[in-house]
């Protein structure tokens, strides 16, 4: 595949605009508050779109398309169960404490509410997670460009080795993202995330529509694919009767509560976007505004994955949940090849495994003509860049305020911390490049990042929950509970495996006491253990240690904070009204695709 001049021009125009936005934002970046919190001056709708865009990293567009092809419509649980309720909860209940406490980061809230050690533990693990997250986005983008052979022709024309394409893609994306964050800080990143959001929608709406049409619409999907691909809840009573391999209890508790709330309500990567809002009302509306497009994203990313599978497998011949793709043709999704032997990889039933990660990119290349192809590829790059930028801005803030200012240089001028923020941006990008190369050496980097998320986000959700809603929770209880929750996650992971997995990064590295029907069931249960142990031990630890004075917790704990009435305004600006509309709409979608 080669890009035409028009395709290249679309990509070039996008790069020029994102760099220009960064430099325009630099004119309004004069202080630490400007750089790290965008001066707390961004309107709600901009924050809302940035909130969702910062989440659109490598896992979202490519990963959800791949899951759509592999698991079908039940992938929508990651949106309708695993995102929307948590986004409504943070908007209505938690944002008043993040925004109202004037904390500059999520770890700083933990210092205000608990103590320094709890903040330090969260800051360190979170900083590590952002670097790996940014590196994985970078690696995924470079790998995609290499696999799709997008730059083969220009490199050949310049007599450059094809092996340089991977390095050039990493370097170019790193330079672009670093330039606009270094210049414009969080404001530059947020405005670019809004641009990236529109671009992703503009690129994926035609792809979703064309692929849906090509497969014959919903009727075509029902006649081509096994019914288990087309339902969200049907068959969820037992792991054996649905494609995810989990039961409804683990799904609701693991994904719908622990992992979802752990990510959407405590991960500073997304919370930072809401904290940049120009008022408390705007901060509360940010996740709720984001929830509207998030609710509809399954149609943009999962439906193309389903269509790619239908176009690959042809008419259904194998009914039943256990039945995978029936007829493997030379369709959209290629067969997965063994890296060592070059031979097709087979599953336990002896059937060829499909390389689902290429479902969306291949669909893009095979469905779209010149021009639209440039737009689609630019949308893919935009999703990777927004994911990288989200991680880097969160990293530079947590590093500067929660590690550098807290432990290395406690008192310095605002200008000094602004300079440190810019240095942290460059260092964060440099470390991300290292993480990207580490990813290229390590087959299971995506498993590793999911594991780190389960270890970090799941227990810290219990810490935030008790911190905000139980005034008796103490710093010692929170710290030891958080540490124990993380250790519990590691122990559970080390003692269990999923069916067919080999001991190592997939678990079982301490021994084997239980085997789960799927990797997802194992991940959900790891998160449930981490959250439960942190929750229980934080309560026990708090009850045996001295409580904080109630005066010191005003503005930090729900029961001690006076309820501030929102200024009278239009009904559609009320967080509660928006929350009810979002939840009701999500319920309707669940019923339609039951």
């Amino acid at each position: 595949m080669h890009l035409s001049l028009i395709d290249g021009s679309i990509l070039g125009l996008y790069l020029v605009v994102v760099l220009a936005v960064g430099f325009l934002a630099s004119g309004r970046t004069k202080s630490g508050t400007d750089f790290f919190l965008a001066g707390r001056s961004i309107p709600a709708w901009v924050c809302g779109l940035a909130f969702i865009s910062a989440n659109l990293g490598a896992q979202e567009v490519i990963g959800m398309g791949a899951s759509g092809a592999k698991y079908g419509m039940s992938t929508a649980h990651f949106y309708w169960l695993g995102a929307i309720p948590a986004m409504v909860f943070i908007g209505i209940f938690m944002m008043p404490f993040y925004y109202g406490s004037k904390a500059r980061s999520a770890p700083e809230y933990l210092r205000l509410r608990f103590d320094e050690k709890t903040r330090g533990l969260n800051a360190l693990t979170f900083a590590l997670m952002t670097i790996i997250g940014s590196g994985v986005s970078m690696y995924a983008m470079a790998k995609l460009i290499t696999v799709l052979h997008v730059l083969d022709a220009p490199f050949a024309a310049m007599h450059l080795p094809q092996t340089w394409i991977f390095h050039a893609a990493i370097l170019a994306s790193a330079l672009v993202v670093m330039s606009y964050i270094y210049a414009g800080g969080l404001r530059g990143a947020i405005y670019n995330e809004v641009i990236q959001f529109f671009l992703i929608v503009a690129g994926f709406v035609p792809l979703a529509w064309l692929s849906f049409k090509a497969v014959g619409g919903w009727h075509g999907l029902t006649t081509t694919l096994d019914p288990s691909y087309l339902h969200v809840w049907k068959g969820m009573a037992h792991p054996e009767t649905n494609r995810l391999g989990v039961d409804a209890g683990s799904l609701v508790m693991g994904l719908g509560f622990v992992l979802s709330f752990g990510y959407w309500t405590t991960d500073f990567l997304v919370v930072q976007r809401a904290m940049a809002a120009d008022s408390m009302g705007a901060a509360r509306r940010t996740p709720l505004i984001a929830a509207f497009p998030k609710m509809l994203f399954p149609f943009l990313v999962i439906v193309p994955g389903l269509a790619a599978l239908a176009l690959t497998t042809g008419p259904m011949t194998h009914p039943g949940v256990a039945g995978g793709p029936a007829v493997v043709s030379q369709g959209i999704i290629p067969v997965k090849l063994d890296a060592a032997t070059g031979q097709p990889m087979l599953d336990s039933a002896g059937k060829p495994q499909l390389d689902y990660d290429l479902a969306t990119p291949n669909l893009l290349i095979k469905s779209l003509p010149t021009g639209m192809l440039g737009l689609g590829l630019t949308a893919l790059l935009a999703s990777f860049m927004s994911g990288m930028a989200g991680n880097v801005t969160a990293f530079n803030t947590v590093w500067t305020y929660d590690i550098y200012q807290a432990y290395i240089r406690k008192t310095a001028s605002d200008a000094h911390y602004l300079t440190m923020g810019r240095i942290a941006t460059a260092v964060g990008i440099f470390l991300s490049i290292g993480a990207a190369y580490m990813a290229s050496q390590f087959n299971n980097i995506m498993d590793l990042i999911q594991l780190i998320c389960a270890f970090v986000n799941a227990p810290v959700f219990a810490t935030f929950l008790l911190g905000m809603f139980w005034k008796r929770a103490t710093g010692h209880g929170a710290f030891w509970g958080l540490l124990a929750g993380t250790v519990a996650a590691a122990l559970h992971h080390g003692l269990t495996l999923s069916v067919g997995a080999v001991a190592g990064i997939k678990g079982g590295w301490l021994g084997l006491v239980h085997t789960y029907p799927s990797e997802m069931a194992q991940n959900f249960t790891t998160a449930i253990w981490a959250w439960s142990v942190c929750f229980v031990l934080t309560i026990l630890g708090s009850l045996v240690t001295k409580a904080h004075s109630e005066e010191s917790l005003i503005g930090l704990v729900y029961s001690l904070t006076p309820k501030v009435d929102e200024p009278a305004g239009a009904w559609f600006k009320s967080p509660v009204v928006l929350g009810v509309i979002v939840l009701a709409s999500t319920l309707v979608l669940n019923i339609i695709f039951w």
């Binding site: 021009s9 679309i10 125009l13 671009l199 503009a202 003509p369 021009g371």
Partner: protein
């Protein structure tokens, strides 16, 4: 304003692609119509609308 400029710019490039690309490369048989022209027009209108709204907001401020 940058959103408007980007969308309008991409819209114009898609229109250019729609008019200049050989029919065989437009995948007309599979798609049924010239999608570059249709989506290019949508993006151009959206971009111009976003630019107009941005200009109006600037004047108001």
């Amino acid at each position: 304003m940058p959103i408007g400029i980007l969308c309008a710019g991409i819209g114009l490039l898609l229109l250019w692609a729609g008019f200049s690309t050989p029919p065989a490369e437009l995948k007309l048989e599979a798609i049924g119509f010239n999608i570059n022209l249709a989506w290019g027009a949508v993006m151009l209108v959206f971009g111009l609308g976003a630019m107009a709204l941005a200009l109006r907001a600037e004047k108001r401020d």
